[in-house]
Amino acid sequence: MTAQDTSHAGAPLDLASPAAAPPAKEIRRLPVRKDWPLGFIIAIQVGILVVAVALWQAGADHGWIDGFFWSKPSDVYATLIKFFAGGDAWTDIEYTFGSTILGFFLGTAAGSLFGLSFWWSRNYAAVAQPYMICFHSLPKLALAPLVILIFGLGLASKVAIATALTIIVSALTTYAGVKALDADQERLFYSLGASRMQVFRKLVVPYCLPWIISVLRVNIGLALTGAIVGEFIASQHGLGRAILYAGNTYDIALVWVAALVLSTLAVLMYAAVSWLEHILRKGIKQ
């Protein structure tokens, strides 16, 4: 009792004193955020594009920028029409699209399986780990010439590069999923009488699916990069080859056209993969 009394008297705590917390200097209100209507935002977006293209055209016409190196929208448009009328366009698009999609699926599937396989043995995972990190940090595009030599000038070499770029990202991400697996959850499965195969099929695979899915959008971009680089180095078809060829012959308008088609392709594939991701995620939740 006495001990309590002295502690109270010894250290008087005056919580009401102004020293406890200085008063706010000014009255603050929550910042107000006002959203523009969607139509207005789209109008501004389109407006910026139109102004940029118009400035480019005017700049080239009036000699503010060098039309030879920068080309101009009207030339690009004319070349675009010619490109699609000429017949090569669809072959090139098909070629690039084909190698990208093949590389994307091969790399994602093989990488995911590879990542999942680490669940089976911690020792195997530990042995494989440095090789994975090594391959991940290796600038794989630097090896592209070698890949072309091995797989030839055709589609196979482009698919190989696209696969090489995607496989390791998928493997590492899936492995992250495997590592995040709850040990209690796994033990519970065993306590319910499950076999290792059952734990793998009913727990590990569904648990890692969100990780696998999360890489899809990254991988489609990587696969496209791989395919284009493959075409840059040596190819007879493809949008990458078209860009390289056009650049070498100073056909700048054609460079723009090929780049434009390529970005359209990229956006379409990105949208398709996002849709796929959406469907898969919904599938998991249900």
């Binding site: 519970l188 065993y190 306590s191 009488g193």
Partner: protein, 266 residues
Amino acid sequence: MVAAMETAAKLHLDQVSMTFNTPAGPLVALAPTTLAVVPGRLISLIGPRGCGKSTIFNILAGVLRPTAGRVVIDGVDSTGITGRVGYMLKRDLLLPWRSVLDNVVLGMEARGLSLREARHRALPLLRRYGLAGFENLHPNALSGDMRQRVALLRTLLCGTDVILLDEPFAAFDAETKLAMQDWLLDLWADFGKTALFVTRDVDEAIYLSDEVCVMATGPGRIAETIAVPIARPRQRHDVLAPEFIAIKERCLELLAVDHNPVGEAA
């Protein structure tokens, strides 16, 4: 006597001990412990942190091999064997991608029943035990106590006669906890399982159990086993009965010894 106990017991811990090798030297997590559980009984383990509750639990579940001693279930040595007992933790560990019904049938499925057959068997039980209307929902849509009910049903349906419950209601507020306890007693009476219940709540331990094992630390051990001679089915007002209070007093006394270094030295 020991042999007779072993044959009669559903679950028998025979001189089980556990020593962990730590950088600071060997750590005795559990001193040699013997415990026999009669079929169909509900036994509680209660004690402070570090008394070896979880160690006993993990050894029984087969996920931890004891340093010495053996675990006998139904007269068969089951030391280090998984799948002989069903268990349940504080966390419900439901699979978020499976519906309530499919979570409940997991154990049956693991034992080779087709999903269709397993669902067929589980559905009436879900309806009977207060989960009607939730069958096709996913766990995320359920409240914590509902999820834990699903988890308990999953444990009961996994086909083992012995179930281990590790602080299953520790996360709930007092009111929910009481409802869950009564619900557990209903299911336990219906299913006739032998159950081991780990808790830190003295009232919960006494209210649920036939026997309360009060544990102590340094090294982890069972300090005393107290029988609870209160008739079943238990009523809520049983907690005010003189025998309940007497047992509670004894439990608190034993637990208090552990908090008092002088008492421990003595």
